[in-house]
Amino acid sequence: MEIVLALAIGVLTSSGVWLILRPRTFQVIIGFSLLAYAVNLFIFSMGRLRIGAAPVIDKAHEIDPSLYTDPVPQALVLTAIVIGFATTALFLVVLLASRGFAGNDHVDGREADL
């Protein structure tokens, strides 16, 4: 499972980085979305990978910390998802405004001289 997760994070990050270096605004925003997925998975994996373990402690039974997974990265990833989603949405609005003003979708607002 570790190798699958590591590959997923690696592929998402590399595609994301390649896309944010592209000249079209749409490519840039997709790049940021992919990077956000990669970062969120990375944060999640920092709590160590456990299968079938709950993060919330059940008070009804005797509490054994080894049965539970670390809840902190899950709380962090939730915050990171919300913030990342909001800022990406805001970036989308700016992107549309830029498209409206410049009449093209280049990140500089004008086509590069070929």
């Binding site: 920092m46 709590g47 962090l76 915050t79 800022t87 700016v94 607002g109």
Partner: protein
């Protein structure tokens, strides 16, 4: 015991948050109520920051005996819950931030606050993010406050709209999004290795790491450092800054002059906590010194190369970041105090400069940048730029040109570091401290390099600014004498008077900042203060 006093560290965050929420609810047409609320909130922040300064200076030992104000959010004990910590450095930064916020809010009432919707709530949220970033004692919380201030700044940088602003804003947002992802990766990695996010706890645990964990932690610290350097506009991560700041409207650009200093503050805070426990010197270590020098050189070259006055001030921001990074990268604690003094003067001066340049630009008739021949050839006429309209109600001040000229000279002297203004005091004390450390220790090459670079960059600054001044004031044709509102001239006046006050009381201020630097140099004080605070309600008790 004064009960409200114990909630003091919370107020700089809660007050602007509540005000912003109220402002969103109020209609834009109820301008008086909205402005009254905004001013009440900012004045409250100034007051609270001053109170915190008194607390950290040791005037209220009953509540916080270590002179470090600690506040447990949700009453959870330190390593588990989020803490707010106000030591001397944080209190000084809070006061600086709220003072600058007040001046530029006054400036914005003349026109900018009405140039688009939601200026006032976004402004409050920006102040909330800044205050929170200065106060927080938790790494992830630091990220959250960075995002709050960045999200508000994204809105504010686009305020007034227009093609140039939107394109510059696009670049600014893209850069900061990427930096935020780096910050998240670093914080997650640090949590994965050490199992804590509390900065005081981190300082203890980082020193105990060994082997592979240690190397992983150093990698995480390096990524964290890069994220902060993007915010601090260190070369080569600062190409976004001049455009973004130049096209933002003046009161916003003025507040933004403190935003690069948040990056420097974070580097200083984490550097002070991580250094002596044997953890890597990623912050403020020997790497920071050449980076700072490169930033300084880049800023000076950019300043000499550019013609556009607002972009020139952007390069001044880069220069001040470079000076700070280089000074904080020198070994020893003696430079920290003077560097903080430099930070105060440069933020105030740059804030004033952004507002001033916008007023000066109004003196230029349409087409002053373009040759008269090409005006005719291309059949251009005045496009009635909405940014430049001059017919806004308000009380005008007399002798507008004299005021603009004097204020410009003051700003130039402050930025270049010439007497009699505090820019000189700051640079002199910084350089003499650098030379003193080199007299006792052997490596003096670094100190002499710092002296030479800072002095040469000051020379470059005065050349570039005097050239701009000549172009703006002495070009005899097409000079329009603008009407300046009291609110606009007054806010620049407040900032410049604050600078002059800093020059007059430079002795006590420097002594206070040196004490702040000593506190930073002994992180055990910070760690003990955070760890010693007990929750009001004992653990396990039901409410």
């Amino acid at each position: 015991m004064n009960n409200w006093l114990q909630h003091l560290p919370m107020l700089p965050i809660v007050v602007p948050l509540m005000t912003a929420a109220l402002l969103v609810l109020l209609k834009e047409s109820r301008r008086k109520t909205r402005l009254t609320l905004s001013f009440a909130s900012v004045l409250m922040q100034v007051f609270v920051a001053y109170q915190l300064l008194l607390v950290t200076a040791g005037h209220m030992p009953a509540l916080w005996p270590d002179n470090i104000a600690v506040y447990l959010l949700g009453d959870w004990p330190a390593p588990f819950g989020i803490v707010l910590v106000a030591d001397r450095l944080a209190a000084v930064m809070l006061l600086l931030c709220s003072g600058l916020g007040l001046a530029s809010l006054i400036y914005s009432t003349a026109r900018w606050e009405r140039a688009g919707v939601h200026f006032l709530p976004l402004y409050q949220l920006l102040l909330m993010g800044l205050d929170g970033a200065f106060l927080t004692g938790d790494l992830f919380n630091l990220f959250v406050f960075f995002e709050v201030l960045l999200a508000a700044s994204y809105g504010l940088i686009l305020h007034g709209s227009g093609e140039l602003r939107v394109t510059a804003g696009l670049h600014y947002i893209a850069t900061n999004l990427a930096a935020s992802f780096l910050l998240l990766i670093a914080i997650a990695l640090i949590y994965g290795v050490t199992g804590t996010l509390n900065m005081a706890d981190l300082a203890v645990r980082a020193g105990q790491l060994a082997g592979g964990d240690r190397r992983l932690f150093e990698a995480a610290a390096a990524i964290l450092g890069i994220a902060f350097l993007v915010k601090a506009a260190a070369w080569p991560l600062n190409f976004w800054l001049p455009n973004a700041y130049a096209y933002a409207c003046a009161p916003v650009a003025a507040v933004f002059s403190i935003m690069t200093k948040v990056g420097i503050y974070s580097l200083l805070r984490l550097g002070s906590l991580l250094q002596p426990t044997g953890a890597p010197a990623a912050f403020g270590g020997e790497w920071m010194f050449p980076l700072g020098l490169a930033t300084l050189v880049f800023g000076s070259i950019g300043m000499l190369a550019t013609q556009h006055a607002e972009r020139q001030i952007g390069y001044c921001v880069i220069m001040s970041s470079g000076t700070l990074l280089a000074a904080l990268g020198m070994p020893g604690v003696t430079l920290t105090g003077p560097a903080l003094f430099y930070l105060l003067t440069s933020v105030l001066a740059l804030g004033a400069a952004y507002m001033l340049i916008e007023m000066i630009e109004r003196t230029r008739g349409f087409g002053a940048d373009v040759l008269a021949v090409s005006l005719e050839a291309f059949d251009l006429d005045d496009p009635e730029s909405p940014d430049r309209s001059d017919d806004v109600v308000g009380v005008a001040i007399p002798a507008a040109m004299a005021f603009l000229g004097m204020a410009f000279i003051c700003c130039a002297l402050l930025i270049a570091g010439l007497p009699p203004l505090p820019g000189f005091v700051a640079k002199l004390s910084m350089l003499s401290a650098a030379l003193q450390t080199s007299a006792t220790d052997t490596p003096s090459i670094a100190a002499w390099t710092l002296v030479a670079t800072v002095l040469l960059s000051g020379l470059a600054g005065i050349i570039a600014l005097s050239r701009t001044g000549i172009r703006l004031f002495w070009s005899s044709e097409d000079t329009v004498v603008p009407r300046l509102r009291v609110s606009e001239a007054g806010s620049v006046g407040i900032l410049l008077l604050a600078c002059i006050a800093l020059a007059i009381w430079a002795g006590p201020v420097l002594a206070f900042l040196n004490d702040a630097a000593l506190v930073l140099d002994r992180p055990q004080l910070y760690i003990d203060a955070v760890m010693a605070v007990q929750p009001v309600r004992p653990l396990g008790a039901t409410p």
